[in-house]
């Protein structure tokens, strides 16, 4: 039992209510602590690992900074951000609803395959801007379509979406391979790959950054607005926080589940389009960047806030851009960067646990997700 069970007139602990503004400021501060501390701790632990491997941690981190930010390296980092941000936006939507869409890799690759397959022809047949719009929408539509089966199963029968989205993801990845070897194969090469795009997304004037990044920022803003200001966002939040309450309030849950899935898949599809049309230019079989896997920790670090995810994505883009080179310089595998991401996840879990005990602001998770994850861990308490 917590404070709500205190009956009578005098509260057990006489707490004078703090002014609303202080409460709000306090919450923002708590949020910052929750978000930044795991990253700092992970970098610290990574430093210890580097020392153990006989590398100089400061030199390594400095190398990341040099190659990820300085001179015009920040532009390379920014280019990487586009697909990351779009995937993050899509995951934010669905996680807010307390639903796990873990099929992002399949959704991403199918979108990427279709864009690479139809793109080379389309950019030459119709005006470039029209071709780009069509390709973005096509990738989005395919991503959305690929969530439809798990969505309907979840909405109608309550089927566990973690399993269905993962299964659909495997199917999607292999289907993308089949498409690349079959109908989308570039006949001029024996390699299993599509034709290379002759025209790509234009750059933002004065930079090497393609306009896909602008699309991504726009998507993040729209998602943030919808989630925080609109009735649809509120319904989604209620469903995520307390599905039984949502039913009590008369929210059409099945429909909301399906729409949330479609939006999420659509965003992941857009990410694929931005990556292919802005950076990759073609796709070959076996290529699976699995962006989503590395993005998930940052979505939760941002506590499912679409705007707060931006600095984290920026941070990660710098680490991965500069890190690729720094790792090579230090004669380390680039997988060391994944170790850093893994460390962030571990420290998030630690902070989540400590935060619960020390009232350290709100959780990374929606109440429903938290309940589901903690239920088996938390000892039952009788009061």
């Amino acid at each position: 039992m917590s404070t709500e069970t205190v009956t009578g007139e005098t509260q057990l602990a006489q707490r004078r209510p703090r002014p609303a503004r202080t409460v709000r400021a306090g919450r923002v501060l708590d949020g910052l602590i929750r978000s930044v501390v795991p990253v700092v701790l992970a970098l610290g632990a990574g430093a210890i690992l580097l020392l153990a491997l006989g590398r100089h941690p400061l030199a390594f981190y400095g190398d990341i900074w040099t190659n990820g930010v300085e001179n015009s390296a920040w532009q390379d980092s920014a280019i990487r951000m586009a697909p990351f941000l779009l995937i993050a936006a899509g995951l934010t939507v669905i996680f807010r609803a307390n639903i796990w869409n873990l099929g992002y890799n399949g959704q991403f690759l199918l979108g990427a395959a279709l864009v690479s397959g139809y793109g080379p022809g389309l950019v030459n047949d119709i005006p470039l801007w029209a071709a780009m719009v069509v390709l973005f929408l096509l990738a989005g539509a395919v991503g959305a379509l690929w969530t439809l089966i798990p969505a309907v199963l979840k909405a109608r029968y309550g089927t566990n979406e973690i399993i269905t989205t993962l299964m659909m993801s495997f199917i999607g990845i292999d289907l993308a391979s089949i498409l690349i070897k079959g109908p989308f194969h570039d006949s001029t090469t024996p390699l299993p790959q599509t034709a290379v795009l002759t025209k790509m997304l234009p750059n933002i004037p004065g930079t090497r950054i393609h306009v896909g990044l602008l699309v991504a920022f726009a998507a993040v803003l729209v998602v943030h607005y919808v989630l925080t200001r609109t009735s649809w966002g509120l319904r989604l939040q209620i469903m995520g926080a307390n599905p039984r309450a949502a039913r009590h309030f008369g929210i059409d849950l099945p429909r909301l589940i399906v729409v949330a899935f479609l939006v999420s898949g659509f965003m992941v599809g857009l990410a694929a389009a931005a990556d292919i049309l802005g950076l990759q230019g073609y796709i070959r079989t076996g290529w699976n960047p699995a962006y989503g896997d590395t993005i998930i920790p940052f979505v939760f670090l941002a506590r499912l806030n679409a705007l707060a995810v931006v600095p984290f994505i920026a941070f990660f883009s710098v680490v991965s851009t500069g890190g690729d080179i720094a790792a090579a310089d230090a004669n380390l595998s680039t997988n060391f960067l994944l170790v850093l991401v893994g460390l962030i996840l571990i420290f998030m879990t630690v902070i989540e646990y400590l935060g619960r005990r020390r009232e350290l602001g709100a959780s990374y998770l929606t109440p429903g997700l938290r309940q589901a994850l903690r239920a088996p861990l938390v000892r039952r308490r009788s009061t």
């Binding site: 039992m1 917590s2 209510p17 200001r229 609109t230 009735s231 509120l234 926080a241 039984r244 009061t383």
Partner: protein, 542 residues
């Protein structure tokens, strides 16, 4: 701290020796001091009543005694020897048996099998010995228990008897009964009183937990009153014998609400009014229109709770209609089909002559059909959202609070502030998260949501469950006001006293069916009790 008489000095003369002594028990949970330096002495052959509001710390204390929880500080002495009760198993070994509020029997097993579950000694099950033990205990308690009946087929009263047998199975000396009357019919309570008398005669020490004053007064040999985790007073055997019921009542109320001496007189009246079983009958105009009608409504069961089957009832303008019944007999299904949260499989729901059977929650809400749920935390509020927003969660997307899908924060917060004032919700700000409110205030949030914007027909599900005396009175006043203003209320409650106090008629729900409607008045309690039991027996025979 109020003390009428201290319990330490004069108790040993004519009663048994202390079996269990709790000294300075303290237990805190994050944010709550559940038990604060509590002393308690249990004696052989005595029923010790533990009285207190929900959240006063009764359950924690019982948890400590039954080995579920370990205290942060304090000592437990059993027959004078300091002992640690480290686990439920240890508690049983020490002779402390517990009957929990909700049944712990396994429905699919027979009575005998349920009782033998606790044995666990040896590989082979000794049925013959178990049968003998059951017969012995049943004889001691003066009850008849068929060893081969499935637990699922027992009435709640019988289930409780089996639970008591189970608690005594391994020779307990201390029996803990956690709110044993909350699920019983009036007849069941009378049966329980007889069993208690027998237990006392055999020298058992019994802890009887309740939040009903009259039960404590009629069944207890000693009454301890907990408030906010502290033992705020004890009324010893002598006082219970020598003083009149009215004096005792007034004293207990004073102890329970000690800190506001000013309002004590008021509260004593309140408590008396709440305990007054023969309620004042209200007058409903003879020719009043039927505002809500259920015609042969059925809805299937969900999970372990029963659905409703072929329920027909009419609610007239200005009427308060009660629905009595033992918990789990279809109350939730009834409330939810009316609210629109649950589909009906057959039948029609008619509001003011128009069918609303196919309408969703929002549409019914707009027509003035409202539902105050009993599951306040589970579905009544979204704890992580502000109080103000919680007041509008049944009108998400509606003008003027949302325009073109965009929330109008100023409008929502302004109107929320008005509602908070009107319904006296004690919250620091409308932007405070709802989960931080107390239970009573959360109920006020629900009431403010359902009773604003022209309510007409309102379903109240256990509207005062777990609330303190004052909030209970407020809620009942609101229900009466709704009916007086030309609305109508359907009050579903497992607390028969409550229904007798506020309702004009009382319908009885048993096994998902409506088995009868009784006009409120003298003798209604017995009649309702019979229907609760009879309906069950009738169905079993069929």
């Amino acid at each position: 701290m109020w003390e009428i008489e201290t319990s330490t000095v004069n108790a040993r003369n004519d009663t048994g020796a202390p079996i269990v002594e709790l000294v300075g028990i303290t237990k805190s949970f994050p944010g709550v001091l559940a038990n604060d330096d509590v002393d308690l002495t249990l004696r052989r052959g005595e029923v010790h009543c533990l009285l207190g509001e929900n959240g006063a710390g009764k359950s924690t204390l019982i948890g400590i005694l039954s080995g579920l929880t370990r205290p942060d500080a304090g000592t437990i002495r059993i027959e004078g020897v300091e002992t640690a009760i480290s686990s439920p198993r240890r508690a049983l070994e020490l002779g402390i048996g517990t009957v929990h509020q909700h049944s712990t029997l396994i429905p699919a097993l027979s009575v005998l099998e349920n009782l033998m579950l606790g044995d666990g000694r040896g590989v082979r099950l000794d049925r013959a010995a178990a049968r003998r033990r059951l017969a012995e205990l049943a004889a001691q308690l003066g009850v008849e228990i068929d060893p081969d009946t499935r637990a699922a087929d027992l009435s709640l009263g019988h289930q409780q008897q089996v639970e008591i047998v189970k608690a005594l199975w391994r020779g307990s000396r201390v029996l803990i009964l956690d709110e044993p009357t909350s699920m019983l019919t009036p007849q069941g309570v009378a049966e329980l009183a007889k069993v208690l008398a027998r237990l006392k005669a055999q020298g058992q020490a019994v802890i009887f937990i309740t939040h009903k004053l009259h039960e404590a007064l009629s069944l207890g040999d000693e009454i301890s009153i907990l408030r906010q985790g502290r033992l705020v007073g004890t009324i010893v055997r002598e006082a219970l014998r020598s003083k009149s019921q009215e004096e005792l009542r007034a004293e207990i109320v004073r102890i329970m609400f000690g800190e506001e001496a000013r309002e004590v007189a008021d509260l004593a009246e309140l408590q008396e009014e709440l305990d007054n079983v023969e309620g004042t009958a209200r007058v409903v105009a003879a020719g009043a229109d039927t505002v809500l009608e259920l015609r042969g409504v059925s809805s299937p069961a969900e999970g372990s709770e029963l659905g409703v089957e072929d329920v027909s009832l009419g609610l007239r303008e200005g009427e308060i209609l009660g629905v009595a019944g033992v918990d789990g007999n279809g109350q939730r299904a009834l409330a939810e089909v009316i609210a629109g949260q649950r589909r009906v499989s057959a039948g029609d729901i008619v509001l003011y002559g128009g069918a609303v059977t196919r309408m969703n929650v929002a549409a019914r809400q707009k027509l003035g059909l409202r539902y105050v749920t009993d599951d306040r935390l589970g579905e009544g509020i979204v704890g992580s959202l502000p109080v103000g927003l919680n007041l509008f969660l049944k009108r998400v997307g509606e003008r003027p609070y949302w325009r073109n899908g965009r929330i109008q924060r100023a409008v929502v917060e302004g109107r929320a502030a008005e509602l908070v004032r009107e319904f006296d919700v004690r919250t620091p700000f409308v932007t405070t998260r709802a989960a931080t409110l107390s239970g009573g205030n959360i109920q006020k949030v629900l009431l403010a949501r359902e009773l604003s914007f022209h309510p007409k027909v309102v379903v109240f599900h256990k509207p005062t469950y777990g609330l303190d005396v004052r909030t209970t009175a407020t809620v009942r006043d609101l229900i009466r006001k709704l009916a007086d203003d030309g609305g109508a209320a359907l009050v579903i409650s497992t607390d028969l006293d409550e229904l007798l106090e506020i309702c004009d008629r009382i319908a009885v729900l048993s096994r998902g069916r409506l088995v009868g409607v009784v006009p409120n008045g003298p003798g209604a309690a017995e009649h309702v009790g019979e229907l609760m039991v009879g309906g069950r027996a009738g169905l079993e025979a069929a």
